[in-house]
């Protein structure tokens, strides 16, 4: 929190430390939302810039992560409304685990995607997710229920394939 005060005062070193501390979290969340590394980098940068610009107004009523994720979601939704930018360069090679996670998330609507990522990857409690997304706890629970329904099919399919492979 001391660092946060220093960032607000305009201390450049504190600012760098703050960005470095949140960058991996924000980037991973952006990757979960966009599914593409270059888009994720753009979205994460946009989110961090907006976060730094709005830091004066952050009153600590929610955690910094919750606050940053709410900015990220707003930015993501506003990017979705714009026409898609041309693909700048191919996505880099990924770890298979990352590929699997992104494939699972790919078909979820944005609201369910971010809810699932905050719950299963960032381990945020339901109430924090509700605050970040500006919805009720009941809505978060309903979205998680829908996520479970959708992903159950996908994960079930994977499991049956594994079983078949093992039988061969």
């Amino acid at each position: 929190m001391d660092d946060l005060e220093a960032v607000r005062r305009g201390d450049p070193e504190a600012r760098e430390r703050w960005v470095a501390a949140w960058w991996p979290h924000v980037y991973r969340m952006a990757l979960a939302m966009t599914g593409r590394e270059p888009d994720a980098e753009d979205l994460a940068q946009e989110t961090m810039m907006a976060g730094l610009a709005a830091l004066e107004r952050f009153r600590g009523e929610s955690s910094e992560s919750t606050w940053l994720y709410s900015i990220l979601l707003r930015k993501h939704l506003s990017r979705l409304r714009r026409p898609a930018p041309p693909v700048r360069h191919p996505a880099p090679m990924r770890e298979p685990e990352v590929d699997e996670a992104l494939a699972l998330l790919a078909d979820l609507p944005p609201a369910q995607k971010i809810t699932a990522t905050l719950f299963y990857v960032e381990d945020l409690p339901v109430q924090d997710i509700a605050r970040a997304l500006g919805v009720t706890g009941a809505t978060v629970k309903w979205r998680l229920f829908r996520v479970r329904q959708r992903l159950k099919r996908k994960l079930g399919g994977d499991r049956s394939r594994i079983v078949c492979k093992e039988l061969l």
């Binding site: 940068q45 961090m48 730094l52 770890e95 990352v98 996670a101 699972l104 699932a116 990522t117 479970r148």
Partner: protein, 108 residues
């Protein structure tokens, strides 16, 4: 936590392995404008001008004054074209009366 939750957590947990690009050098964020934006300033200036105009501009002539003025101008034009001395004198008297009427209406 159900078995399904564990499986989802395990599968999505792969995201934590994603390579994170180096921390970008973010430029200094643009400070929020503390002064009113130019559009608001322009609107305020226009309101002040409008208030000033309404306060200091002479009042619009009433319908009677406008009508008298119109009649006087028409009569002045007509008199210049009349060569008959007596008729011109009569019309000049009428013109004088109209001017006097106009003066009186402005005094009220």
């Amino acid at each position: 936590m159900s078995d399904l939750d564990d499986r989802i957590r395990g599968a999505l947990g792969g995201l934590r392995e994603a390579a994170v690009p180096s921390v970008p050098k973010l430029g200094t964020p643009r400070a929020e404008p503390k002064t009113a934006p130019p559009v608001l300033l322009a609107a305020a200036a226009m309101l002040v001008l409008l208030a000033g105009a309404l306060t200091f501009m002479p009042a619009r002539p009433s319908a009677t004054e406008a009508a008298l003025g119109g009649r006087i101008r028409a009569l002045e034009t007509r008199i210049t074209r009349i060569e008959h001395e007596e008729l011109r004198s009569l019309l000049n008297r009428e013109l004088a009366l109209l001017r006097r009427e106009l003066e009186l209406s402005q005094v009220k």
